[in-house]
């Protein structure tokens, strides 16, 4: 019984950290319509920043400044936000695809720095000895897991309430207006680029915070944690939950992480150890197909607030013709 509670706490902690990333993505994509396919890079920036600031001094690399954990989290948000703002400034005056390609490049470069800049990131072996909140409780795993869960719950709740507030504030309304009808919003005197850079930066800061939380939860980070598969998982979480809805982002994350962890357990039970790697790739295929199917048949996800468009029949054809001529 205690094992189950312990595992439940561990599962929920990971799922909630994911949901924090998804909340950041929801601000960028769901609310503002900015496409980020390099979010793993921003999560990694947060994790590494916080790790550098809080770990004890290490002769083999830069820093290890031994600062308090909260300073690490704040630092992660600042650096992640600045990185996202720079990315946004470079691309947001151009077509939306350019942002997608650039964020993709950001993730590649962050991965490269994590692997090769040994002096900064510890290279392929990563950074260990990251201080954990309630590390003193590690003797009793249950208590340790529950207290971690409480911390992550609190952070996610704060982020959720703040984002809910933001999306209803005048600021959030401008973002929605820009997403729905850019020309109309601009004609009302709103600077599209300025607002978008802000939204992208705040989203990036939230992702970086999630990365930092995760680093302090596991106590160890390595470049492998931030591969494109992470980006992909978070996207599926947001699409399943329904882009535009913060509640959807949280529930989608828990649901998809449940499916992911469950199918992982299933494959490790069904396949022989030497086939595990192959089975894991089948898991990714299944999630990839799931993403495409949801985009095709239920683009709003569970809780999405995008305006529904007719998909089939005469009305759909009329709408398609209209939109292609309108563009």
């Amino acid at each position: 019984m205690i094992d189950i509670i312990g595992y439940g706490a561990f599962f929920l902690t990971t799922a909630l950290i994911f949901s924090l990333v998804t909340l950041g993505l929801n601000l960028q994509w769901g609310l503002t319509g900015l496409f980020n396919v390099g979010l793993a890079g921003f999560v990694a920036i947060g994790a590494y920043t916080s790790a550098l600031l809080t770990t004890p001094d290490d002769a083999a690399r830069l820093g290890g400044f031994g600062l308090p954990i909260l300073v690490g989290w704040l630092g992660a948000m600042v650096v992640g936000g600045i990185a996202a703002a720079l990315t946004g400034m470079a691309t947001l005056r151009l077509r939306s695809d350019y942002l997608a390609i650039t964020t993709f490049g950001v993730a590649v470069v962050v991965q490269l720095v994590a692997l090769n800049a040994q002096k900064l990131t510890g290279g392929p072996f990563g950074i260990g000895f990251i201080p954990r909140p309630f590390g003193s409780l590690a003797e009793t795993p249950l208590l340790f897991n529950l207290s971690n869960l409480a911390v992550v719950c609190a952070v996610t709740l704060i982020a959720y309430l703040a984002l809910e507030h933001l999306s209803r504030s005048p600021w959030g309304r401008v973002l929605k207006a820009l997403r729905e009808d850019e020309r109309a919003a601009i004609s009302l005197g709103k600077s599209a680029r300025f607002y978008r850079v802000q939204a992208f930066a705040v989203g990036g800061a939230i992702m970086a915070l999630a990365g930092a939380l995760q680093a302090h939860f596991t106590g160890f980070i390595a470049p492998d944690n931030y591969l494109p598969i992470l980006t992909f998982q978070v996207w599926v979480m947001l699409i399943v939950g329904g882009s535009g809805s913060n509640l959807g982002a949280v529930i989608g994350s828990i649901l998809v992480w449940g499916i992911w962890a469950g199918s992982g357990t299933l494959t490790s039970a069904l396949f022989a150890p030497e086939q595990q790697a192959r089975a894991a790739s089948l898991q990714i295929v299944a999630i990839g197909v799931m993403l495409c199917v949801i985009l095709l048949i239920r683009p709003n996800g569970l809780f999405g607030d995008r305006p529904r468009r007719p998909r089939f029949g005469k009305r759909a054809k009329a709408a398609a013709i209209k939109s292609s001529f309108g563009s």
Binding site: F35, V37, S96, I101, G105, P228, Q283, V285, G288, L295
Partner: protein
């Protein structure tokens, strides 16, 4: 600094350029950046490899053509692989992209291509495992051609093949009715429809050209480097950077962009170190976006 980087750069650049042609065509005609393009490359290469093995199993081993490391089976397999990749692209368009396109939200299509890319790549990993394979394990002796440059017969043959293909596509785009229809659709879709251009057939031709060239680029990488499920995904950033550097929609631009990025990568490998190679395309991409976002031969969007 040895001049060898010129040959290495031209080779990498021609592979990037061949891939970038497909990227630039999908972007300018279908109006979305296709993240699954790199995986077309990998699928084409594995298909070609499968056909080579099948030919080898049926007719026995055949000697390679004199100085090259490959023989007729590979050339036959390459044609089959190109057809297969073109069909794969058409199929993916039919079941996924075309349906999402008709909903009128371009960026959803990009996201779907990202999901499809993950699924395609992992399916390759599942079928062939992530262990690298090769078309041939024979080692070729590089011939010195002066100025400290060495080149293998394979490299010369593949450079020539690339040149022929690029010229062919360029002629197709500028001298045939289909090519003109493609250009018209990329420049002004609404007007192209009004003058009666068959959009569906142009879309098909786009996928066929993009898929077939992706397969050639993949097989080239397979012959000169190695075959891995991730081979195409790793080329994605260089291909996008090349397409944007050359100017979206321009085929000479895509090839020139590919060559520039290939040369820059090869120079960086010599000057800084091979581990930073992947950062080169990102730096070039950012420079283009800041200085001249329409690229070398691009036209301003309306």
């Amino acid at each position: 600094m040895s001049l060898q980087f010129v040959v290495d750069g031209l080779l990498t650049g021609s592979m990037i350029g061949l891939g970038a042609i497909g990227v630039t065509l999908t972007y300018s005609i279908l109006r979305f950046s296709n993240f699954a393009h790199g995986d077309f490359m990998a699928w084409g290469t594995y298909a070609t490899l499968a056909v080579v093995s099948a030919i080898g199993a049926t007719f026995g081993r055949m000697a390679p053509i004199a100085p090259l490391s490959f023989g007729w089976p590979l050339l036959v397999a390459l044609v089959v692989g190109m057809a297969f990749t073109a069909l794969l692209a058409l199929l993916l368009d039919k079941v996924l992209f075309s349906r999402l396109r008709s909903q009128g939200q371009a960026i959803i299509v990009v996201m779907a291509s990202f999901g499809a890319s993950m699924a395609l790549r992992s399916l390759l990993e599942f079928t062939f495992t992530s262990r690298p394979t090769y078309f041939s394990r024979a080692i070729q002796i590089a011939m010195p051609v002066g100025f400290g440059i060495r080149i293998t017969p394979d490299q010369i043959a593949l450079l020539l093949l690339t040149a022929v293909l690029v010229l062919g596509v360029h002629l197709l785009m500028t001298r045939t009715q289909t090519g003109r229809a493609m250009q018209a659709l990329s420049q002004n879709a609404a007007l192209a429809r009004i003058v009666g251009i068959d959009v569906a057939s142009v879309v098909r031709v786009t996928w066929v050209i993009g898929g077939a060239l992706a397969c050639v680029a993949g097989v080239t990488i397979g012959i000169l480097v190695q075959i891995r499920p991730f081979m195409g995904f790793d080329m994605l950033l260089p291909m996008f950077a090349a397409a944007i550097l050359g100017g979206i929609g321009s085929i000479p631009g895509a090839v020139l962009g590919g060559l520039i990025i290939g040369l820059a990568e090869a120079a960086a490998v010599q000057l800084i170190g091979a581990e930073w190679r992947a950062a080169v395309s990102f730096i070039i991409l950012m420079a283009v976006l800041f200085v001249r976002p329409i690229g070398l031969f691009g036209v301003r969007e309306r």
